[in-house]
């Protein structure tokens, strides 16, 4: 248990630092690279929670596909690659205040509700179980999501097409 807690602490620290760098970096490409660290950290947390299938999907979809999309987006919009200071707008302080306020509320509520609750991973959740419930109990949401993906595909093509 100690090893897991140490692993959690190290990964979480790396994630928080990287996340802050994502939203403060002065360079767009660098922000995207920090985002990779955060996403990989999320995958590692899934492994700690014994959710291996979700972790693999996280790596494949987020790091493999979404980051690439972001990099394409950065390139196609010809954002400057080198240093550039002007990526933030003039309401940074307001934004920081709102974020801190939200964090205060969330931290208070979570501490109030789940203080001392332990996660016991004695019953493993296997990939087979995930598959069974997606294609069993949650078949309808699954089908709806597939239709949504199709709609997004068509929508993205229509939007980005030159005509």
């Amino acid at each position: 248990m100690v090893a897991q807690n140490i692993a959690f602490g190290v990964i979480a620290a790396a994630m928080v630092i990287s996340a802050v760098r994502v939203v403060t970096a002065k360079n767009v490409v660098r922000a995207a690279l920090y985002l990779i660290i955060v996403l990989a950290g999320v995958a590692a947390q899934y492994i700690l929670l014994a959710a291996e299938f979700t972790a693999i999907v996280q790596v494949l979809i987020y790091i493999g596909a979404i980051i690439v999309l972001f990099l394409f987006g950065i390139m196609l919009t010809r954002a400057p690659i080198g240093q550039e200071g002007d990526l933030d707008n003039d309401q940074r302080w307001l934004a920081g205040l709102v974020a801190l306020l939200l964090f205060g509320v969330l931290a208070y509520v979570l501490n109030d509700a789940f203080n001392g609750a332990q996660i016991r991973l004695n019953v493993p959740q296997t990939t087979a179980q995930v598959g069974d419930s997606i294609f069993g109990a949650y078949l309808l949401p699954f089908e709806v999501v597939s239709v949504l993906l199709l709609a997004a595909l068509v929508g993205a093509i229509v939007l980005a097409r030159r005509d």
């Binding site: 994502v22 899934y46 972001f70 010809r78 954002a79 979570l110």
Partner: protein
């Protein structure tokens, strides 16, 4: 492992994402901040799933990942369209709704 550790990590990521959405000028960076928010939600879902010994947490995290992929696709297409029409992706310049 403490459930609260994961939940607080999720809260930190969420608030960082909120800050990014509110403070960033570049459209692509705003979308990245939205990804942070979605990942924070996913950590919560998987952690609660493990806590309650139910598979539903993972299943919904997977749905969120799929929807996030769709969101990024459409979002980047919109950013590209804005860039093509205005030669800029500064979201503070888009104020057509100004009263």
């Amino acid at each position: 492992m403490m459930l609260n550790n994961f939940l607080l990590l999720g809260a930190v990521l969420f608030c960082t994402g909120v800050y990014g959405v509110l403070a960033r000028k570049n459209g692509v960076l705003v979308l990245m901040a939205v990804e942070l928010i979605l990942n924070a939600v996913n950590i919560n879902l998987v952690a609660f799933g493990a806590f309650n010994h139910t598979i539903a947490g993972q299943v919904f995290a997977l749905f969120v990942i799929a929807i996030a992929a769709a969101e990024v696709g459409v979002g980047l297409a919109i950013v590209l369209l804005i860039y093509r029409n205005r030669r800029s992706i500064d979201v503070t310049e888009i104020d057509l709704m100004k009263g």
